[in-house]
Symmetry: C2
Subunit: 212 residues, 2 copies
């Protein structure tokens, strides 16, 4: 689209780098606002006007950065997926795989209870189309899934994870903790702290409802 990019002369300070930094900082602020609003109200209830107000720019300016509401949501999902990837990468891979999976599930719940987990409808087709074509999101999802999948296999091999469950069922079960409504229900009950809630849901997830 933009063809006339001025070539900086030798010795000239890199103006374009500064502008790009501003550009990136603004997009970062936009994604932060989108992330917060998606976590608070969900995709359908979030309006682009709200995003513009929260960022403090005009709505039309938003559309210079992101071509559609779906792309805004995809950017937020890509960021949280990158956060997940970085978290998993930072874990000590020499520990027991079951403990690593537990830490992964705990992390998603902490993010959700902190109001930082975007919630998207699973049925919206235009949104799914945008998500599946968003490179950052898809790449992050792939890497996260491969890492978790390796730990699942290892945990089944060492006898700590139920080997009768297909690995994909385990993977989906862990992903589902990120949007588990039980967290909100228990929070709404007002009887337990966030730590207690997470320990309870972790217990039901890994140990089940039946007594051991």
């Amino acid at each position: 689209m933009a063809s006339a990019v001025p070539t900086p002369r030798p010795g000239t300070p890199p103006k374009r780098s500064f502008r790009e930094q501003m550009h990136i900082a603004r997009e970062d602020a936009i994604v932060s606002a989108v992330n917060r609003l998606l976590a608070e109200k969900g995709f359908d209830a979030m309006t682009v006007d709200e995003v513009a107000v929260e960022v403090g720019i005009a709505k039309a300016s938003l559309y210079k950065h992101f071509p559609s509401k779906e792309d805004l949501a995809a950017a937020a999902m890509a960021r949280v997926m990158e956060r997940a990837r970085a978290f998993l990468e930072g874990l000590d891979g020499s520990r027991a795989p079951l403990e690593l999976l537990r830490d992964a599930a705990r992390w998603t719940m902490e993010v959700q209870l902190a109001g930082e987990m975007p919630s998207l409808p699973s049925e919206n087709s235009s949104l799914r189309a945008t998500l599946t074509t968003h490179k950052g999101y898809v790449d992050g999802l792939m890497e996260v899934s491969e890492r978790l999948g390796a730990w699942i296999s290892a945990a089944q091999a060492d006898g700590s994870l139920n080997p009768a469950l297909p690995p994909i069922a385990v993977l989906y079960t862990l992903y589902a903790r990120a949007c588990d409504p039980v967290l909100g229900f228990l929070k709404g009950a007002g009887l337990y702290s966030n730590e207690q809630i997470i320990e309870m849901v972790l217990s039901t997830c890994f140990d089940g409802l039946r007594k051991r």
Copy 2:
């Protein structure tokens, strides 16, 4: 509102009863359509126009039966709650409480996989207000919760259910199976039958991910 109701003469067949039967039958058709559309697309994506088209009446006629979109959804929720209540009532109460809880969870998943489970956003406040003032829904929810609560207590007393979990956490965990996205994920994978999917999720719910 309607003040001029003709008084039937003695010996005249009960016309009003017939009219009411028609009225009930039409409202039943409306609730069925709403239930199906809520299960398919969710509350936000469902439009009142779609409901009218599916029922085969004008949109304005819908509003003669139900005063708002929220009331349509509440009616659908009340019906499915009544179905749940009737299912639980039909179970053999002399069986082991843990088995009764398992049957309850299985039923909600069967309803979901059959495309008959309405899905509502948990954050929409106007919807929540309507739901909490809908007598049929609230009464059904109370009775279902009391019945499940009794079985939960009994199962913890007989040592089959983890006694360390608060009963309310168990109750919410069971309710959450009705909208568990894992069912749809696994269905979308195309690798397993509905029965296999339900058995897998039941296993993770009651036995947990860890090996026993």
